[in-house]
């Protein structure tokens, strides 16, 4: 019997080629988009799950509140790890990481590597990082040992088995290679190409309980251990940090807490870090769970739109199928059997569409990777969940979208349909109208979303940031020159086409950051404290980057006292509550046991500038005049950039053998918004897809509507109706639905995009024309789709349609 059903389904599909094409194509498009997004979402959700012990691994975070300053750290104190391991039986193991960057030598060449971590020897016990060569138990036990990845080994040695070789790092320290590991999975919240033994880092032995520097991961014997430990954190802090506080701040922990300040430790499951953690001191840039929700919703939307198409077109086609239903009933088919027949038919269509979609998704994966910035690939592991998932989805989608047509069609009474009474069934379907409305509801929502995302990005990129990021060239490895860096700076300043230059690693785009504690008076009073970023800059900094001094003056190299002067940004002034800040003195704490306080005189106030992404508000910054040759930023003004670059490179080569690495500040700035740009592009792509699918459905429906009304159109034309009148007549019904969809979608779109914009500290207001534009777009697209069919029907010779009746 099933054979009979499939046979008739196949022949039916072949007979109605355009219907089949629209139906299968629409569905395939939808499923393709759905699959791609599922890949993305699964990838986002799979972070760190490659670790066999993932469910038992937690990271220790620290919440710190000092006066009005509240910070969440992804790092905690150096001695905590050892204490946890030795004093708390529920803890099986601990590992600390400390992020760093280092130069490594390969022959005469030097490379700067960013993915370098100091790691405790226990790293291989806690995390699943299998070694290809070397012994995981002892690999990082001794100082100055390193485990590197296969890729890194190939880069420096041209082969992978390099255990026993050594790698020359900064300050001519030689690191012994004790292991080679597989490249870390892309789905890890941190990346490391080099794991250097923690014992190589002197500070790692520190006993400081008031300073947090180490990303600390705890492996529990079983999951319940985390709750148990978390309950004991406050006691632990009181015991250790409290003791040091007494000696350093001359303050008991209780008094400290009474002042409204606190230290708190908490645990976050390893598998939550990627999507739920965005703290200070993260090991890498994490994702946002919001986007996972966003994309999941879009994926479901698109699939729903595609399924609705299917339902609509199938029921619209019911007129052609009704006779078959009648005949089958007369021949003895029970309703159940007919329902089964139509369901198996829709499962078949979904199956074909899914096969096409799978092929399309596989083909489009590289494009999608480019779009999303991911490196997704179909592997054996993917297939393990993909194949059953796809089979289940085929059944579910097939049954769901087949259900309505099946019950609708099988309900026909044979007496009616065989008499030709139920030729229509088209105009009457309220459900179909509702479905079309819903499809356009989704489309309008997505169009609005896309417009808002792009507007916001445009706003971010055009906003006055408080500095001028255009035409600034950054040489990131100026430190290679050592003392020569200053020479280069002076020589470049004299070069035509160069306006100014400043030597520092502290830049408003992602670069070096350093924090310190300042007090209004020379006492460690948390209420008078400030946790600013402290940037070492030179006297050309403000002018090179185009910042504005709004009070006082800039640093000057003619004033010898300026090294004990500082420039504050407006936010720092506000946080300190200073009315006339110029020439006031603030105090920097040395930290540690028995801190000393160094006075700094405020020389000037710089206008607030954005140095984080615009998601965040500006935080306090204090600039001080001190030497830092981390990188060299050059403001240029030239029409002939290549020539200037060549000149600069020549100068560089005359001073150093290291590679000349440069970047442009505006490009670096754009990197801060890569996620948003990707989201924007993905949004756009899938919006177009959703609209295409919705229009495919509309196209099919319009065709059927026109077909159903051929006779009516014929009569009207004979009576003298113009083509335009008939087109309007046919289009009106559909456009009405689109208008209803717009009315319904607009408030929801407003709400959703409003929520999204809250993520940004600096954001646009969504103006009315965004809604107007998305509404008009929807109407425009729908009109074109529908009128294509309407015009065709209206132009047809009425003699033909009337004769056939």
């Amino acid at each position: 019997m099933l054979k009979n059903y499939f046979k008739i389904a196949f022949r039916g599909l072949l007979k109605n080629k355009s219907f089949t094409l629209i139906n299968i194509l629409g569905l395939a498009l939808g499923v393709t988009a759905f699959l791609l997004i599922v890949f993305y979402v699964v990838d986002e959700l799979s972070y760190d799950r490659y670790n066999i012990k993932a469910s038992r691994i937690y990271r220790v975070n620290e919440d710190l509140k000092l006066g009005d300053n509240k910070v969440q750290y992804a790092v905690c104190m150096a001695p905590l790890a050892q204490t946890l391991k030795s004093d708390y039986p529920e803890v099986e193991n601990v590992v600390r990481f400390k992020r760093t960057s280092s130069h490594f030598k390969k022959g005469t060449e030097t490379f700067l590597e960013y993915d370098v971590l100091f790691a405790d020897a226990s790293v291989f016990d806690v995390f699943t990082l299998p070694l290809i060569y070397g012994d995981a138990h002892h690999a990082l036990a001794k100082p100055n040992t390193v485990v590197l990845t296969k890729t890194a080994a190939k880069k420096y040695f041209g082969r992978t088995n390099v255990v026993g070789e050594s790698l020359l790092a900064d300050n001519n320290v030689s690191l012994l290679i004790t292991g080679v590991m597989n490249d870390m999975p892309a789905t890890s919240h941190f990346k490391a190409n080099f794991l250097v033994s923690m014992s190589s880092y002197p500070n790692s032995y520190s006993d400081e309980w008031l300073r947090s520097d180490y990303n600390t991961y705890v492996l529990f014997h079983d999951k319940s251990g985390s709750k148990k430990l978390e309950a004991q954190f406050s006691q632990l802090l009181k015991k250790y940090s409290g003791l040091q506080m007494q000696s350093e701040l001359k303050m008991s922990y209780d008094a400290f807490e009474k002042g409204g300040s606190y230290f708190k430790l908490n645990l976050i499951p390893l598998t939550d870090i990627h999507l739920h953690s965005n703290m200070t001191g993260e090991l890498g840039v994490n994702g946002t769970v919001q986007y996972v929700y966003f994309f999941s919703i879009i994926a479901i939307f698109i699939l729903v739109v595609a399924c609705l198409n299917f339902i609509n077109l199938s029921t619209a086609r019911s007129a052609n199928r009704s006779r078959e239903v009648g005949v089958r009933k007369v021949l003895g088919s029970a309703r159940k059997q007919l329902v089964f027949q139509f369901l198996s038919e829709s499962v078949l269509i979904v199956f074909i569409a899914t096969l096409i979609a799978l092929a399309a998704a596989a083909l489009l994966l590289p494009v999608f990777n480019q779009l999303s910035g991911k490196s997704l690939a179909v592997t054996v592991g993917t297939l393990q969940w993909l194949v059953p998932a796809v089979l289940i989805s085929i059944m579910v989608v097939g049954l769901l979208s087949g259900a309505y047509p099946a019950f609708f069609l099988s309900s026909f009474r044979p007496v009616d349909v065989l008499k030709g009474k139920l030729s229509g069934g088209f105009q009457s379907s309220k459900l179909r109208n509702a479905l079309v409305t819903f499809q356009f509801f989704i489309s309008v929502f997505l169009i609005t979303g896309t417009l808002v995302v792009f507007k916001q990005l445009q706003y971010v990129q055009n906003r006055d940031l408080g500095y001028n990021r255009n035409q600034v060239l950054i040489i990131h490895n100026a430190f290679e020159l050592g003392n020569q860096a200053k020479v280069l700076k002076q020589e470049l300043r004299a070069m035509p086409g160069v306006v100014n230059a400043t030597l520092t690693a502290f830049l408003p785009v992602a670069s070096a950051r350093n924090t310190a504690i300042f007090y209004k008076e020379a006492v460690a009073d948390p209420k008078q404290s400030l946790f600013p970023q402290v940037w070492s800059v030179d006297e050309d900094y403000v002018s090179t980057l185009g910042m504005k001094i709004i009070a006082g003056r800039n640093f000057s190299n003619r004033m010898s006292m300026d090294s004990s002067g500082v420039i504050l940004n407006q936010t720092a002034v506000k946080f300190l509550g200073l009315i006339n800040p110029i020439n006031k003195t603030i105090y920097r704490s040395s930290g540690g046991v028995n801190p000393t306080f160094k006075p700094y005189r405020i020389l000037g106030v710089v206008k607030d500038f954005n140095f984080n992404s615009l998601r965040e508000n500006i935080s306090p910054v204090i600039m001080q005049l001190s030497e830092n040759s981390g990188s060299l930023s050059i403001r240029i003004n030239t029409a002939n950039l290549p020539a200037l670059l060549t000149n600069i490179q020549q100068k560089w080569k005359s001073l150093s053998s290291a590679q000349f690495e440069y970047a442009f500040m505006d490009a670096e700035f754009d990197k801060l918004y890569r996620t948003e740009q990707q989201v924007g592009k993905i949004f756009l792509t899938f919006t177009i897809l959703a609209i295409t699918i919705a229009c495919l459905g509309l196209f099919g429906l319009a065709a059927y509507a026109a077909e159903q009304r051929t006779k009516e159109i014929g009569i009207r034309k004979v009576l003298g109706a113009e083509v335009s009148v008939i087109v309007a007549l046919l289009s009106k019904d559909f456009i009405k639905l689109v208008v209803i969809a717009i009315v319904l979608a607009t408030p929801l779109a407003w709400w959703a995009m409003h929520q999204w914009l809250q993520e940004f500290a600096y954001r646009i207001n969504i103006s009315w024309w965004v809604y107007a534009l998305s509404g008009c777009t929807a109407i425009f697209i729908a009109s074109i789709t529908v009128s294509f069919q309407s015009v065709k029907a209206a132009m047809a010779n009425p003699i033909k349609s009337l004769r056939s009746e």
Binding site: N4, R11, K15, R323, L331, G332, L418
Partner: protein, 225 residues
């Protein structure tokens, strides 16, 4: 074999009932060949549909092979119908997507007849109706007469006791019509199939053993031929 008692069918039109069939009494014996005649709107087709269980009367009692049809549940009625009744239409109503062979086979599928048995039965019928050469063609490739032949073959495949035909020759020319009527007579006389046909044609009505005249939903006359 068939007994209708006081069967009425009406539509509610505003406040009043419009009767399509009004208290029909009809008994049909096994082996009869009945022609139902009457002007348009006299209720011929409705009567046929009620006999064929495609339609339900509003009032009355309906017995078929001893079963009270008016009391049966949908499932039982369907089973009774499947085993005993074959239908032939004026517009043939073959399934366009199926071949001649498959069209004829379909009722057997719904009666859960095994594949091998189906093959034998269909081959037998094809042979008897002389359409073996057409078995892989689709309905659209056949003439009207041939399509009706397939329609009859399909109606007879499950060996029904009662064959219902709603103007079986209405779409055919006179020669094709004659052939079909000859076939009906043969089926009735040689195979003992009970036949009830609705027809407009006086000539075709003469093929039967009894002619029933309907007028305004009531039986005006019943004449044995």
């Amino acid at each position: 074999m068939l007994s209708l008692k006081q069967i009425s069918k009406y539509y509610q039109n505003g406040g009043s009932k419009v009767y399509v069939l009004n208290r029909i009494d009809l008994d049909v014996d096994k082996g009869e060949f009945i022609s139902i005649m009457g002007p348009s709107g006299s209720g011929k087709s409705t009567l046929l549909n009620i006999i064929g269980m495609l339609d339900e009367p509003n009032e009355g009692y309906h017995y078929f092979v001893g079963e009270p049809v008016h009391q049966l549940k949908e499932k039982q009625r369907s089973a009774l119908y499947k085993q005993n009744i074959g239908f032939v239409f004026q517009a043939y109503h073959l399934i366009d997507e199926l071949t001649v062979y498959e069209n004829i086979e379909t009722p057997l599928i719904y009666q859960n007849v095994k594949g091998s048995e189906r093959k034998a039965l269909v081959a037998d019928v094809l042979d008897r109706f002389n359409i073996v050469g057409k078995k892989d063609l689709f309905p659209s490739q056949l003439s009207g007469g041939q399509q009706q032949l397939v329609g009859i073959a399909r109606a007879l495949i499950a060996k029904p006791k009662l064959l219902l035909a709603d103007e079986p020759t209405g779409n055919l020319n006179s020669k094709q019509g004659e052939e079909i009527m000859d076939l009906f007579r043969k089926l009735n006389q040689e195979d003992g199939v009970t036949i009830i046909q609705v027809t407009h044609s006086e000539k075709n009505a003469q093929y039967g053993s009894r002619i029933i005249e309907l007028l305004d939903g009531a039986i005006a006359s019943s004449t044995n031929v």
